[in-house]
Structures are given as structure tokens and as C-alpha cells.
């Protein structure tokens, strides 16, 4: 009840973010229902059904990440002095965050179920009813148990992720109050917190492994046709090695994100910097973990999208068979929207955590234009470093797949 009351008085932007989570959840729920409907309608094509279900994992993961970012940024779930004093401390508030996330995802899933049934023609409420009964295999009856299990997957996963990620860290006796003020994301348990750039060598190594695997598999003999995984829009499918290489390269980008952000900051504040460069660089170093990880995911997805454009770009122009069905398009849209929204949310989160510093600087007479300039310099440097890197990795991953 408290979460509903807090939501009622919340800022419209916060409500909008919750609504976006619900929308994304609806998209994923719809995809899951579609894969279930396909499996029910084609009981013989087990492998194809399984591959469809597996492809739903990507949007699912993106939505869980987005829901987590929104819950972390939600002002209702930040520890507050007054609430802590009456016993609603960080522990209870993490439960509250998990509940709100579960509610948003459940609402989205329910909407997905309604839309799915309506489009299949099971409900017959609107003129649109049954509009897509062919695509959604409307003839076969939907097993309710399976449908509800699949729909319950996302709320359970995202609520669990929230509860785990936002649970209060172990309290340190005599911890520095300034250090704990910078949020739940900071690893406060470790005596010497792991530097954010520790993942960079791993990331680079994994990217290299992925590219090498792809090159190796691409050059090797063609694998047996029954071991191929279906890739949307390609008749023959792709070998698991190629897909594995692609996934490894993406994983590497995600791991390398914080480190890249950190070194961008170091680069920016090197030499004898003025105030703008100094503030921009140091803030980038400090927020490397918070911003770098979503940025890494964003880069990975962007490089995947670029590689897909490389692969299928020609097919779009032809008037022949379209490579992407509407469901693939929906999945890709959900992933890209979620990942972009997560990165934006993380940036807003970082900005909110800096608001104390910003007001202190304002008292000193530091003009707001200087802080805005620092933010602009930061984003420009990140763009200048990450965009070419993303493009290069996309080109390299697409190279063996083109053959």
C-alpha cells in the first residue's frame, strides 16, 4: 500500500519511468506468449520453438536491467532520514522497491496477455480482434498454466534482482559518512574497493576471444546442418560458434565499459587541466562504474545492431522476402529502447547523486554554465571514444558472418 501511496505523490518523470518499465514488460510478455503459441501450434518443431524461446532471453535481460536501474533511481526507495527513524530503513525500502518493480512488471504482463488474446481473436472486444490470428497461431488453444508461468517469470526475476541489488550492504563501524553518501551502487563492504577499471583487461581479452572464435569458426569446415542455430532471416542458420563469438564480443564490451569510462576520465583530466576539464574528468572517473556498465551494454547492443545492419542491410532494399518478422522487430525495439533508457536513467542517477556537490559549488559562485560545460565535455569524450570502438567491433563481428 505504501508503494502505491508514494507513487501517487511522485514526480511525473518518476511515474513515466515506471510506465516505461510496464511497457517494456508488456513487450517481453507478448514475445514470450508468441513463442508459447508457436510451440503449441507446432508440436513437431521442438528445436525451432526452443530457439524462439531462447531469443526472448535478450529482451528479458534488457527489461530486468532497465527495471533495476529505474528502481535504483526511484526517489521513493532512497533511504530517508525521517522514514529510517520510524523503522522504514534501507532493508524495508529495498523490499518496497522490489514490490513496486514487481507491480509494474505484472501490470505490463497482464496488458500483454490482454493484447495477445485480443489479437488472436479469443476475446472479441474490439474491431481489431483476430487481426493477427494467423501470425499468432490463433487456432491452437493456449495452455493457461504455461502462459501464466511464462508471464510470471519477468516480475519474479526483476523483483528478485531489485531485492538483491538494492539490499543494504554490511554496515561498517565508523564508516566515513561522506563515502556512504554516494549511493547503494558503491561497494562499501570491501575494505579496499575494487577499482572500476579492473574489468578492462578481462573485457579486452573476452572481446579478442570472441572475435578469434568467430574468425576460426568462419574459416573452418561447415558444421553439420542439424547443429545450426536459426538466425532470423537466414535460411541456413548460423553455427553456434559464430553466435558464441558474437555473444563473447558483446560480453567483453559490457565488461570493458567501466574501465573505458574511467580511462576517458583520466585522459580528460591529464596534463594541467583547467576547472572544466578537471571537474569533467574526475567526475567521469568517479562515476565510471555507475555510468560505464549501462554504457557498455548500450555499446554491445549498438554493435549488434550495426552488425545486423551489415548483414541484412541489402535485404531491406530488395522487395523480396523481408528478413525481419514483426516479432523480431518488436524484440529488437524492446532491447534497444530498454538499453538506451537504462543508460539515460544511469546518467540521471549520477547527476542526482552529484546534486549536493553542485549546490555547494553554486554557493562558491561557480557558474552553472561551467558545470554544463563539464557535462558536455564528458559526453563528447565518451562519444568520441565509444562510437568508433562500437563500429569497429560491429564490423569485425559481422565479417565472418557475411561469408
Amino acid at each position: 500500500m505504501l508503494s502505491l501511496r508514494l507513487a501517487r505523490g511522485a514526480h511525473p518523470l518518476v511515474l513515466l519511468r515506471r510506465l516505461l518499465v510496464a511497457l517494456a514488460a508488456a513487450g517481453v510478455g507478448f514475445l514470450l506468449l508468441c513463442s508459447l503459441g508457436y510451440a503449441v501450434a507446432h508440436p513437431k518443431a521442438t528445436q525451432e520453438s526452443l530457439v524462439r524461446l531462447l531469443w526472448c532471453a535478450a529482451p528479458l535481460a534488457a527489461v530486468v536491467q532497465f527495471a533495476l536501474a529505474v528502481a535504483r533511481n526511484d526517489p521513493a526507495t532512497r533511504p530517508r532520514d525521517g522514514l529510517d527513524a520510524i523503522g522504514l530503513g534501507p532493508v524495508r525500502l529495498s523490499v518496497l522497491a522490489a514490490t513496486s518493480t514487481a507491480i509494474a512488471c505484472t501490470l505490463g504482463s497482464a496488458a500483454a496477455l490482454l493484447v495477445y488474446l485480443e489479437l488472436r481473436g479469443n476475446l472479441g472486444l474490439t474491431p481489431l480482434s483476430g487481426a493477427a490470428s494467423g501470425l499468432l497461431d490463433g487456432r491452437a488453444a493456449l495452455p493457461w498454466g504455461a502462459a501464466l508461468t511464462l508471464l510470471g517469470l519477468l516480475p519474479a526475476l526483476s523483483a528478485g534482482a531489485c531485492a538483491i541489488a538494492l539490499r543494504p550492504r554490511k554496515e561498517r563501524a565508523g564508516g566515513a559518512p561522506e563515502a556512504t553518501a554516494d549511493g547503494e551502487a558503491a561497494p562499501t563492504t570491501a575494505r579496499a574497493p575494487r577499482p572500476s577499471y579492473a574489468g578492462l583487461p578481462w573485457g579486452v581479452a573476452i572481446i579478442a576471444c570472441g572475435l578469434a572464435l568467430e574468425a576460426y569458426v568462419g574459416h573452418g569446415p561447415a558444421p553439420a546442418p542439424n547443429s545450426l542455430l536459426a538466425l532470423p532471416g537466414q535460411e541456413g542458420g548460423a553455427s553456434p560458434g559464430l553466435l558464441g563469438g558474437w555473444l563473447l564480443a558483446s560480453l567483453g564490451l559490457v565488461l570493458a565499459g567501466p574501465g573505458l569510462t574511467h580511462w576517458c576520465g583520466v585522459l580528460l583530466s591529464s596534463g594541467r587541466p583547467g576547472a572544466t576539464r578537471l571537474l569533467a574528468g574526475r567526475m567521469l572517473q568517479d562515476a565510471a562504474t555507475r555510468i560505464g556498465r549501462p554504457l557498455g551494454v548500450l555499446c554491445a547492443v549498438a554493435s549488434g545492431a550495426l552488425a545486423a545492419v551489415e548483414l541484412y542491410g541489402a535485404a531491406w532494399e530488395r522487395s523480396g522476402p523481408r528478413p525481419f518478422g514483426p516479432l523480431t522487430g518488436l524484440g529488437a525495439a524492446v532491447v534497444m529502447a530498454c538499453v538506451t533508457a537504462t543508460a539515460i536513467t544511469a546518467a540521471l542517477d549520477a547527476r542526482q547523486l552529484r546534486s549536493d556537490t553542485a549546490s555547494a559549488l553554486h554557493r562558491l559562485g561557480v557558474p552553472a554554465s561551467l558545470l554544463r560545460g563539464a557535462a558536455a565535455v564528458r559526453s563528447l569524450v565518451l562519444l568520441a571514444v565509444l562510437a568508433p570502438l562500437t563500429w569497429v567491433i560491429a564490423e569485425l563481428t559481422a565479417l565472418p558472418l557475411m561469408r
Partner: protein, 245 residues
């Protein structure tokens, strides 16, 4: 508008301010002489912070006049008031409010860097001030690795390093223990006296008023007691400190 007396570096008349309806200042007039240390005392909620914010141009009194060096502050635009704070004023808060990403000397040098001082010069000045305030070994540490007293000293160095005309200190010793408190306050006043810096010090404890030249008491947003003539106020401050001793 009446031009203020010439010997006051900062002068305010009839300051009123209310935070969305709740009055914080109701008609405060005050004059700060060049090079003096003026203590503003009063219980919590008596408007000390608001007075300091009005004097430093962070808040605009409505109505009320603030004059700095015989030039009006209350008619300046927001940007001009920011520049004034940047170039002529220093501000020490009750909490250090250092930038957590920057090291000690970078924090102290920040106002200089913002002004456009060259890097080497800013670093030299900041390091000198840190050493003068006994926190020279904190120059390369982040605020997270410092104790509260060290952080507060870095904040004082930040305010003083920019060579301000007036420093506003809003309960600068509030988060500190007694021993640190006296020491921090003494370093601040000594540094201010040796560099001819005017200090407006808002404080709760009696001890700090002993270090001031003059004391002004605020009660519920107005000057407490009889409003003294500028000449008589010296005696008032001294009297207050002798009572406390």
C-alpha cells in the same frame, strides 16, 4: 537609496526574507567594517544562515539593501552576483561540502581554477594554504580518506586561497569536537587577521564569539537586545565574551 558609510566594507539595511511564507529575517540592518571579524550569534532558527546568504548575494532580500564596497549588491543580476561570490567572497559551510572526486589541493584550488588562474599558480597557492592550515599532508588525498576536521580545514583553505575580501563562515565548527573546534576557529581567525580578510562568522557557541571583534545577536529574525550604534557595538561584543569566560 542612501549610500552607506564609507568605512563599512559590507552594509545591509532593512533585510527581510521569508522562505515560502515563513519569515526568516524581519528587518535586519548590519554593517561590517573592513578587516574585522564579526560574529553573528543566536539560537537555531534565528536567521543566521539566511542573513549570511543575503549578505553574500545567494538570496535576494525582499525588501532590503546590501552594499559591498559602496556598490549595491541587491540590484545585480544573478550572474553578476555569482561573479562577485567567485572573485570577492569566500564561503565556509557548516559541512565541508568538498567535491568528492577531487583531491585536497584540487578542492582548495577550485575557485582559483574557475577564475582562470593558471594551473601551476593555483596549485602553488592552494598547497601553501593547506600547509598554513596544518593539512599539507592531505593535499593528495580524496575527501573520503580524510577526517571531518581535516575536511573542514580543506574547506577553509578553499575559501581563503582565492584571496577574498570577505569570508562568510556559517557555523564552520558545527561538526567538530571541542578540541578541533577551537583549533579550526583559531586558524581561521589568525589567517584572516594576518591577511586583512573580513570575516562574518555565524556561530552558536560562546567560545567563538571571544575570538571576534564584535558580536551581533539575532533573535527570531531581528537584531536581539537594544540595537546598538556602530560605535557602541564593540563594547557589546567584549561584554558578551567576558560573561562567557
Amino acid at each position: 537609496m542612501v549610500a552607506p558609510p564609507d568605512n563599512d566594507v559590507l552594509w545591509a539595511r532593512g533585510l527581510h526574507y521569508s522562505y515560502s511564507g515563513s519569515p526568516a529575517l524581519t528587518g535586519v540592518s548590519i554593517g561590517v567594517r573592513e578587516g574585522e571579524i564579526l560574529a553573528v550569534t543566536g539560537p537555531r532558527g534565528s536567521g543566521k544562515t539566511t542573513l549570511l546568504k543575503c549578505l553574500s548575494g545567494q538570496l535576494l532580500a525582499d525588501p532590503g539593501e546590501v552594499w559591498f564596497n559602496s556598490a549595491p549588491v541587491h540590484t545585480l543580476s544573478r550572474g553578476a552576483r555569482e561573479r562577485l561570490r567567485r572573485e570577492r567572497f569566500g564561503w565556509i559551510d557548516s559541512r565541508p561540502h568538498l567535491v568528492p572526486e577531487l583531491t585536497g589541493w584540487e578542492n582548495a584550488a577550485l575557485p582559483l581554477l574557475v577564475r582562470g588562474t593558471i594551473h601551476r599558480e593555483a596549485k602553488r597557492t592552494a598547497t601553501e594554504w593547506l600547509e598554513r592550515l596544518d593539512v599539507g599532508d592531505c593535499a593528495r588525498k580524496r575527501p573520503g580518506a580524510l577526517t571531518q576536521a581535516q575536511r573542514q580545514r580543506v574547506a577553509i583553505a578553499r575559501a581563503l586561497a582565492a584571496d577574498p575580501t570577505v569570508v562568510f563562515a556559517d557555523e564552520p565548527t558545527a561538526p567538530l569536537h571541542q578540541a578541533d573546534r577551537a583549533q579550526v576557529l583559531r586558524t581561521l581567525t589568525t589567517a584572516a587577521r594576518s591577511h586583512q580578510i573580513t570575516v562574518v562568522l555565524a556561530t552558536l557557541d560562546e567560545e567563538s564569539t571571544a575570538l571576534a571583534d564584535r558580536t551581533v545577536t539575532l533573535v527570531d529574525g531581528r537584531r536581539g537586545g537594544a540595537i546598538p550604534a556602530p560605535d557602541a557595538s564593540e563594547g557589546e561584543g567584549r561584554a558578551a565574551c567576558s560573561v562567557s569566560a
